[in-house]
Symmetry: C2
């Protein structure tokens, strides 16, 4: 199989990324079938007039995404069977929009409060000092989906209003105000719904909820958010891709 890849060296998009995107598209549309071996790196580099390292980076990008596998002495092949998209640092809001659904948000709480112990520890502030506490009910046209509870450093309160939060995702608002998220540490579990949760989510008391406890860090390593989310397990599951390296 011969791929036709083209490059725009004047574009602001890195060359390795242009390549990766085109190979990914070829896999998605079936041009590159599962099990197909890519041409070797030297050949690809020569054909595209790129250095081998740039080709390698493009391939590495797709290996990290779980679309390709490499084996020394053998080659690079397309993974059999489609891989689910990997977990990324995106918000539920963005995910719902991308899936063509219409997210709705009801702000249940937006207040400066003394930080509960776990939140204080995660954010690196003294226990009991004031932090911004947010509680939201996220739903779609099909009904409620999750209770989202967030605690943020006090200084981020400035640009977060109920109106903003009901029209946009939290991460989107943070990004728009120059807060860039880089790393999150997350723990996923399950609990039975409490009476209060069951009412909000339209489930029976004791119904299983998928819970995510998360601390998110910004681009200079500071903690930006501590979150405790509860999802209706009947309507939501978490997809991820693991790669061995």
């Amino acid at each position: 199989m011969k791929l036709s890849l083209d490059l725009d060296r004047s574009a602001p998009v890195p060359l390795y990324f242009q390549i990766a995107r085109q190979i990914e598209a070829a896999i998605a549309d079936g041009t590159l079938q599962p099990g197909t071996r890519l041409e070797n790196e030297l050949l690809l580099a020569e054909q595209l007039n790129l250095s081998r390292l740039t080709i390698r980076r493009a391939i590495q990008h797709l290996v990290d995404k779980g679309l390709l596998v490499r084996k020394r002495g053998v080659g690079t092949q397309v993974v059999h069977g489609q891989v689910k998209r990997a977990a990324k640092l995106t918000s539920l809001y963005d995910d719902l929009v991308k899936a063509g659904r219409t997210p709705s948000t009801k702000v249940l709480k937006l207040a400066l409060e003394p930080a509960p112990p776990e939140a204080a520890a995660a954010l690196g502030v003294p226990e009991g000092s004031n932090v911004l506490a947010i509680e939201r009910l996220r739903g779609t046209q099909d009904g409620p989906l999750a209770i989202l509870r967030n605690w943020l450093p006090e200084e981020l309160a400035a640009f977060l209003t109920t109106e903003q939060l009901e029209q946009h995702g939290l991460y989107q608002l943070l990004r728009a105000n120059g807060v860039h998220l880089r790393v999150a540490s997350q723990q996923i579990g399950a609990t039975p719904a409490t009476t209060a949760e069951s009412r909000l989510l339209d489930e029976n008391r004791g119904a299983p909820l998928l819970t995510m406890t998360r601390t998110t860090f910004g681009d200079v390593g500071q903690a930006v958010e501590y979150a405790f989310d509860s999802y209706r397990a009947s309507r939501y599951s978490y997809e991820t891709t693991l790669v061995d390296r």
Copy 2:
């Protein structure tokens, strides 16, 4: 802060990995405090007599692990607050051993059976063709922990016996027989325990179980395993790290 890093150029360990390991250790033992800025890449490269690219790879490795964050024009810093270990392609068995617990395994089923539809689709075999079906109850000294259900291609049946499975992890056995796992696509959800599950796991009927549905691929892209695991949510949660790149 001056780090003392040393290299062994005759060792079979890649240089970038030697560097990464030492920086990671320095973070772990507190030599590099959260928020500390690393020296810039040019300087590090010069001091260690390495090319900048090698240094970059070492740093990139730790960024991927969630230990460092980079920002153009600013520098590289240690993330505040400890990050949980990222989800890797390891087995529950290995994880338990590493955590100092003693895993026990009871094989409930080990048989060649017609593949159920989802398993057939995941493994890429015709529906109803024979596959190896395994069902195990995994526990620790503290009681049962999870029901592990696996379906594997028929040809892997050769070296999997009840005795082997009760003494070792499945992934461990696969690896020992030349089957190398590379990528897994996983879906995490929650369900109420059925009567049968509640009996095996010593929970009440309807208690929340954390479920993982997983397809794992080997190093030439072939599907090696389809799994459906149910964990007691009261005793197990799934930890992961997300990195934006």
